[in-house]
Symmetry: C2
Subunit: 450 residues, 2 copies
């Protein structure tokens, strides 16, 4: 079906241009689309058109789509909505998702929205807002049922049935003692098939729980690895505060991976889908890093300036500059990317710095020996043995240096509280460029005797 | 607690060296550890030591830990186990996880393991094995309950209670008609609080389902965005074949993100935790790309060879080579990383190639204008106006070229069936190096009149 307005094809259109008949056609098309396709459409178009699409959807589907979008895009859409619509979408979100959205909104709008909630919803939202950004508390749902370990299976099932609406999930249920301390966790599945006369304490399992003050990204990663639906969030004295659910953990990990991906490519994360991001935001996300890297690259100009006399003597050396700095950069990036990912997944920790260094020196030496041998043979054949020797030795030294630095830099970045992804890849290249040139000319002067 | 053997500190040890008393100490320490910490320990050590740790755990915890590891690491551990142990771990896995593990094992061992299963488990495992790698079928659980739309809520609940053991999940239940076609989905939560006399068709919702032949990575991404616990997998005639659960979708996305991360850093994915990977595997994962990139970089040597006369005339030009190729590479990588991630998330599709090109040309021009202005001023001050003009103009041209190429390359890669992450970043740098040099010397010859 082809629509004049191009609303579903990413062309220019606005609500006013949309004739009534056509709006009805688009609405019908949207209603027939699988929900994931509708989400994609909203993510692949401008904010104005995204808002129009949401408005044309039926109420429940529109809430579902809005829910699935990231908080940055949600905030932009909120700006394009009318007040009454905003309140609907906002009230429908879970407390933790609501807080993520509030973080993205200007303070005045956030306050107004918070005031619009009914007293109970407002209270739970403010509770979540009370935790530090980046902590588990900020992402938990405080809407949790109090189930005591002296209850029978039948009592628990009854209680859950009558209070299901008050809990974000009823599939994994924390069990507490009378002091509200978490004693175990039981799945609805297990409750459901258990002998109803048993005490719940007899069928519950040892809880996997997390402190509300813990780092959310680290927690989300290991939580997902355990394939759990939800896990209790507790305070220092093991008192139940809320639950963390798998869907929030997923959102966190996806966002963290997108951020790492952007930063390891040398730009700031967009926080929203590419096609819905205005050009000036794209430029803004990239220009700072480009400038910083270009300014650091002035270092390479200075290094070459120092060796200008050597260059004049043997211009042939200039020919290999991009190849050698490129190979150094590539080797460094390989190590940095591998270790950054391993740090994110928790496979490597700060205390492993010397194990990583030892491994990367060995890997770098082996890579350097292989590439150096190839480089020696080829360069010797074309430019003679002395130049070949310089190239071979330089590749050996540069690869070893680059792999070690690339492996260790992300760990140092993490240790000083910086994002390993920022501090590693983009800087590795520049660092390897400058250091590689010094190594290159030092070896050249030695071997060629200039 | 400090253990002589260093089993928990990553030092050398093997089972034979471990004295009985100490084994008991390690076992006690492990039992007291949170499960996620035990998983980390296994992932951060060698295969031999990982197998020892698993053996020292209590049975149920050991199965839980094994379950949480990736299939590559599972396969390596299987090699270090005794036969009887292997069968225990293998039988405990879900059919889809079992198939992922089988894929990593040598054919003879895989066959033997498959034969060891009881007939019913063997049958479901073979069913999953029948689907193509990379398809949804390969990851679904065929263990699904047949619930018909003419059943009442009470009947469904009864059936689920009595057959829970036969289903991977009972939290999201597909409802079929008598021809086994999926008509809707109902959550256990909804069933649980619904009026038991209602027909299940009255409370079920429109199903979000997926074809068994669909691409698993794409499916997993949008499935996770919808925050669902499970979704029905169907054939072309909408017949129920199985369910896809959130934990499998998570594993797939994590693995895909790790692969993208490795490839965009220019190495092959390790498929297992960094510290448990032997050095020679690390070298193997990197050497091929390094060689390919180094050989392509010979292009830059040739380009410079062509312009050697110009270089001899004005050696000052050599000073800026790393800065200019570096900036081109950075700009290209920024665009490539952003678009690769957007492709993975489904925010950009193949058909968007011209929208992306248009956006990146504009972004590249703006970045180039800003950097070019800075470059012109600085280079003019130090090396005079003519050199400044060459640097400024080159930066403008190189940034525009790099951003457009970087934005479009991942889409072209995907269109020809290659991995956007491989084909984009590592190649972008080399391509930008060579093209950037041509642009540089062309502008230099023009402006400086040499």
């Amino acid at each position: 079906m082809r629509l004049k307005s191009g609303l579903l094809r990413g062309e220019v259109c606005d609500m006013k241009e949309l004739e009534l008949g056509e709006a009805r056609d688009v609405a019908a098309t949207l209603e027939a689309m699988p929900i994931q396709e509708v989400i994609d459409q909203v993510e692949r178009t401008s904010i104005t058109k995204g808002a129009v699409l949401l408005r044309l959807l039926s109420k429940d589907r529109s809430l579902l789509v809005f829910d699935a979008l990231g908080p940055r895009l949600q905030a932009d859409l909120i700006g394009a909505f009318q007040d009454a619509e905003v309140l609907d979408y906002f009230a429908d979100l879970d407390p933790d998702d609501r807080v993520s959205l509030l973080d993205e909104l200007p303070a005045s709008i956030a306050d107004e929205l918070l005031r619009s909630l009914d007293p109970q919803e407002k209270q739970v939202t403010e509770l979540v807002l009370g935790y530090a950004k980046g902590s588990v508390g900020r992402w938990m749902s405080p809407q949790v049922l109090l189930l005591f370990d002296d209850m029978s299976v039948a009592e628990v099932l009854d209680f859950v049935r009558n209070h299901a609406a008050e809990a974000e999930t009823i599939y994994a249920l924390p069990i507490v003692n009378r002091a509200r301390q978490v004693m175990g966790v039981v799945s609805l599945r297990k409750l459901f098939i258990a002998d109803p006369t048993l005490k719940v304490s007899e069928i519950m399992v040892r809880p996997v729980s997390v402190l509300a003050s813990a780092d959310i990204e680290e927690t989300a990663r290991w939580f997902l690895q355990l394939d759990l639906v939800a896990m209790p969030v507790v305070d220092e004295s093991n008192m139940l505060l809320g639950v963390l659910t798998f869907d929030d953990a997923q959102d966190i990990v996806e966002q963290a991976d997108s951020e790492d991906s952007a930063r390891s490519g040398g730009s700031e994360p967009l926080q929203q889908p590419y096609l819905s991001t205005p050009i000036r935001k794209l430029v803004k996300s990239r220009i700072v890093w480009l400038l910083v890297l270009a300014v650091s690259a002035i270092l390479t100009v200075q290094v070459l300036d120092i060796f200008e006399a050597t260059l004049v003597e043997a211009v042939v050396l200039a020919l290999f500059i991009p190849l050698l700095t490129g190979t150094g950069g590539n080797t460094g990036n390989q190590a940095a990317t591998t270790v950054t990912r391993a740090l994110a997944l928790g496979d490597v920790r700060k205390s492993d710095v010397f194990r990583v260094l030892g491994r990367e020196i060995r890997v770098g030496l082996m890579l350097g020996a292989l590439l150096g041998a190839v480089g020696f043979v080829i360069a010797s054949l074309v430019y003679g043995m002395p130049v070949g020797t310089v190239i071979g030795l330089t590749l050996l030294a540069v690869c070893t240096m680059a792999a070690s630095v690339g492996g260790v830099m992300p760990i140092i970045a993490k240790a000083i509280g910086a994002d390993p992804a920022v501090f590693s890849n983009p800087f590795i290249s520049t660092f390897c460029d400058a250091t590689g040139l010094i190594i290159y000319f030092a070896i050249a002067k030695l071997v060629l005797g200039i």
